[in-house]
């Protein structure tokens, strides 16, 4: 390992530790991850969609547009592999 690689890695680690120290404590009930949209998803999921699994209802209903984009990305990756490595059909 080169010395400048080590410096870059150490700076990166220091930056991450500095930034992550400001994140809210997981047991803090007033943190933004607990007070933003997540409570609404949990409380409304059954009334809105009859789906007890909140992950599924958020994935395919509340945020289905996002999932659509991700699915298109997956399909595009498959098409890209088809373009990069075309299969040679062997006729017999």
């Amino acid at each position: 390992m080169n010395w400048y690689t080590a410096i870059v890695l150490a700076l990166f680690f220091g930056l991450l530790v500095y930034a992550e120290s400001d994140l809210p404590d997981p047991s803090d009930a007033s943190s933004p991850t607990r007070t933003h949209v997540a409570p609404r998803y949990i409380e409304q999921s059954y009334a809105d969609t009859r789906t007890p699994n909140v992950v599924t209802s958020v994935l395919a209903d509340y945020r289905s547009y996002d999932t659509f984009g991700e699915t298109v990305v997956v399909l595009t990756a498959g098409l890209a592999v088809m373009l990069i490595l075309p299969r040679k059909e062997r006729r017999r």
């Binding site: 699994n53 599924t56 209802s57 395919a60 659509f68 298109v72 498959g78 088809m82 490595l85 040679k88």
Partner: protein
């Protein structure tokens, strides 16, 4: 026709195992409403069953049952199902992907959204299934 490495134990066991894997994959896709599961996970299990057959029985034999073209077709059909589930509500007065406007009579809004989630999850499962089998086929494609 088969690979020379083909082994009766490997072949018999994978032939025995694959139907259970595929049934379990369908269970995972359709049970996503009530427990851990959904289209992504079930699609991966389906693709894994196809990959197991391809590894155990040899590619040339297996390609006659489920060809790489069929895998791509399945993936494209999945994204088409997803897009239609989004566009149909637009034709009936809703917004894109607003399942409450799906044209299925006799269901309340919440039940329509329940079925919309099921349709979308099966589309996602087909996309993941087809894409992973395509990836496998093209990455392992022998250069001839």
């Amino acid at each position: 026709m088969r690979d020379e490495l083909a082994n009766p134990v490997v072949e018999g066991l994978s032939r025995f195992l694959v139907p259970f894997m595929q049934i379990f994959a369908l269970y995972v896709i359709t049970h996503g409403h009530y427990g851990p599961g959904g289209g992504f996970q079930g699609g991966v299990i389906l693709a894994a069953s196809m990959m197991l057959l391809r590894l155990a029985l040899g590619e040339e034999y297996e390609h006659r049952r489920f060809s790489p073209t069929a895998a791509t077709f399945v993936a494209a059909t999945g994204i088409l199902i997803y897009a239609l589930a989004g566009l149909l509500p637009m034709a009936f007065g809703g917004r894109f992907l607003d399942y409450a406007y799906l044209p299925i009579p006799g269901l309340s809004n919440a039940e329509l959204r329940y079925h919309g989630i099921l349709i979308v999850e099966s589309g996602v499962g087909m996309v993941v299934w087809g894409t992973l089998v395509t990836l496998f086929d093209h990455l392992l494609g022998r250069e001839s």
